[in-house]
């Protein structure tokens, strides 16, 4: 089966800065996570897929078309939610979603009905007549998601949809994105800088690092079933990492507040808690799945030493 979207040796510069270098990947049906640290080229890549940016090398295909040449016939089959969520504050949610349905070619009468339907679907059924300025960040992110879905696109591109959300809102949003991909059957590309988020919602992952595809493939293959454990302490993370490494757990600490430990080993949580007590540290957080890409790479490097 032909991929929904693909890139072959794509390059993109901004002046002398090479934002993307020799990027090659394929996006299949289902939910694909685009994972990378800030500045790794995620938004640039999405901009290339929607045809807003022109590649300086290589080629892109989206739904069998070249994004730069296909024009509106491709654009009305794509749903896009930008990273920014500062919508006009006095516009009501249903009006904004209806307006963007019309901008993607849905006749007005259908646009009104679909705006309501999709706002119900993202959990804003009762809030759909509220001005966006009175909504919480989580609700605004849902409005942004609704406008990307309202015209029933074949590919949905979500740029950092959990930005600014608290942990509960973030989990709700991730569950919603997962449901959109599974229950509603949309093909979704969702970008994030957090490995845990991408792992939670995606079937496949494309990892970007420094403008290159560091690796891509299914979640199970890439992570090998092990999600790193992230530990946050008030201070002393480096001492804790050294202590755990001494006990046979390859821990890495970027600074003195946070460290990551491979999550697959038996008894790892007990070992971390025991080490915290032994070193008389103050534990702030102990969580699976919130490791950054950098931490994942550092852990891999540490485990091969």
């Amino acid at each position: 089966m032909a991929p929904i979207a693909s890139a072959s040796h794509v390059q993109r510069r901004f002046g002398s800065v090479l934002a993307l270098s020799d990027v090659t990947f394929e996006i299949e049906k289902g939910v694909t996570g685009l994972l990378g640290a800030n500045g790794s080229g995620k938004t640039t890549l999405i901009s290339l897929l929607i045809g807003v940016l022109r590649p300086h090398g290589g080629s892109l295909q989206v739904l069998g078309m070249d994004p730069l040449k296909a024009g509106y016939k491709l654009r009305q089959r794509i749903g896009y939610a930008p990273e920014d969520d500062r919508f006009p504050p006095d516009v009501k949610a249903n009006e904004l979603v209806r307006h963007f349905a019309e901008m993607r070619g849905i006749p007005r009468r259908s646009a009104v009905v679909r705006a309501s339907e999709v706002l119900f679907e993202v959990g804003l059924g009762e809030e759909r007549f509220r001005p966006i300025g009175t909504m919480s960040t989580g609700q605004r992110q849902r409005v942004k998601l609704a406008q990307a879905l309202v015209h029933d696109p074949e590919l949905v591109l979500l740029d950092e949809p959990t930005n600014g959300l608290d942990p509960i809102q973030r989990d709700d949003m991730l569950a919603l994105i997962r449901r959109i991909g599974t229950d509603l059957g949309f093909t979704v590309l969702v970008s994030s800088h957090l490995l845990g988020e991408v792992e939670q919602v995606s079937d496949n992952i494309i990892m970007l690092e420094g403008g290159r595809v560091a690796r891509s493939g299914s979640v199970a293959t890439l992570l090998g079933g092990e999600m790193p454990l992230v530990v946050e302490v008030v201070e002393g993370a480096k001492r804790l990492a050294e202590h755990l490494t001494g006990k046979g757990f390859a821990a890495v600490a970027k600074d003195d507040l946070r460290l990551a430990v491979p999550g697959g080993k038996d008894g790892i949580q007990d070992a971390v808690v025991a080490a915290v007590v032994e070193l008389d540290l103050e534990l702030r957080r102990l969580e699976h799945g919130q490791a950054t890409l950098g931490e994942l790479f550092d852990l891999e490097e540490a485990s091969t030493r």
Partner: protein
């Protein structure tokens, strides 16, 4: 349960209806933009200022009709001279509406959502230009049409159908000239910032200060006549005078074709600024 009762299914359905093209989305954005800037469908505070400014623009027309009825034979201003009464309210109206048409989309980051729709940067701009021209026509064409209707109704208007129709064409043409001229320049100024207040101040200062500065050059400093072509305050008024074939309160010793070319040049320059600004933010 009644026989007509139905269970409403509000779940998301995949869409199988028609998908219309850019012409439909252009028209939808044009109508949305017009409604947006005059406050239709928005809270009362967005309606108050447009209503006041529109009322001020129409007030002289109503006063003139009253004058015609209570003081027959009193000297009356012609159609071109009407703008002498309402130019300040036209400036205020354009300074309020042009920034509101494009600055919020730039400020709120919604432009990229338009770029992934049926519209691209240039169709988006075309809809916004058509919207500002249409909205400004409310204050540049509408009041003078009321003046023409009032004069005609009370026997001081054009004589005969042919003359009336020509006057009507001149009134609409003069009003549209102002709308296109002021609207294009104001939209270009607005594209330089994403803050409404800065854009409004830039538009007002641009029109008034350029008029004042070039007025000094043309008057006391005896600058050559072509300097009038740079005066964005004087040039459109003089064009309206020429359309109505009257010697107005501004006198410019230049042929009409030069003035028309200069007016068109200003509009082309404004559209070029807009195109550059949106091209640089659109597909690169």
């Amino acid at each position: 349960m009644s026989a007509q009762a139905q269970i409403a299914d509000r779940r998301f359905q995949h869409y199988e209806g028609p998908r219309l093209g850019p012409a439909y989305s252009f028209l939808a954005l044009l109508l949305h933009s017009i409604r947006w800037v005059v406050g239709l469908g928005r809270s009362a505070r967005y309606k108050i200022v447009p209503i006041i400014v529109i009322a001020i623009a129409y007030l002289p027309a109503l006063v003139l009709i009253v004058v015609v009825t209570v003081a027959p034979g009193a000297p009356l201003p012609d159609y071109a001279q009407y703008y002498g009464f309402v130019l300040p309210s036209i400036y205020i109206f354009v300074a309020l509406t042009a920034p509101e048409l494009i600055c919020p989309d730039r400020r709120h980051g919604t432009l990229r959502m338009y770029w992934t729709s049926n519209l691209g940067p240039f169709t988006y701009l075309a809809a916004k230009l058509a919207a500002i021209w249409a909205v400004l026509s409310i204050v540049t064409v509408g009041p003078v049409l009321i003046q023409l209707a009032g004069y005609s109704l009370f026997g001081v208007g054009p004589h005969g159908l042919t003359e009336w129709l020509w006057t009507f064409v001149h009134v609409v043409g003069g009003g549209l000239t102002l709308a296109v001229f002021f609207g294009s320049i104001a939209l270009a100024v607005s594209s330089l910032t994403d803050r409404n207040a800065f854009a409004s101040a830039g538009i007002i200062l641009g029109f008034i200060l350029s008029g004042a500065a070039l007025g000094i050059l043309q008057g006391p400093l005896k600058a050559p006549a072509w300097v009038a072509l740079l005066n964005v305050n004087q040039l459109p008024q003089e064009l309206v005078n020429r359309i109505h074939h009257v010697n107005g309160f501004t006198t410019v010793d230049l042929p009409t074709w030069e003035m028309a070319a200069a007016g068109a040049g200003w509009v082309v320059l404004a559209i070029a600024v807009l195109a550059y600004r949106y091209w640089s933010e659109g597909r690169r």
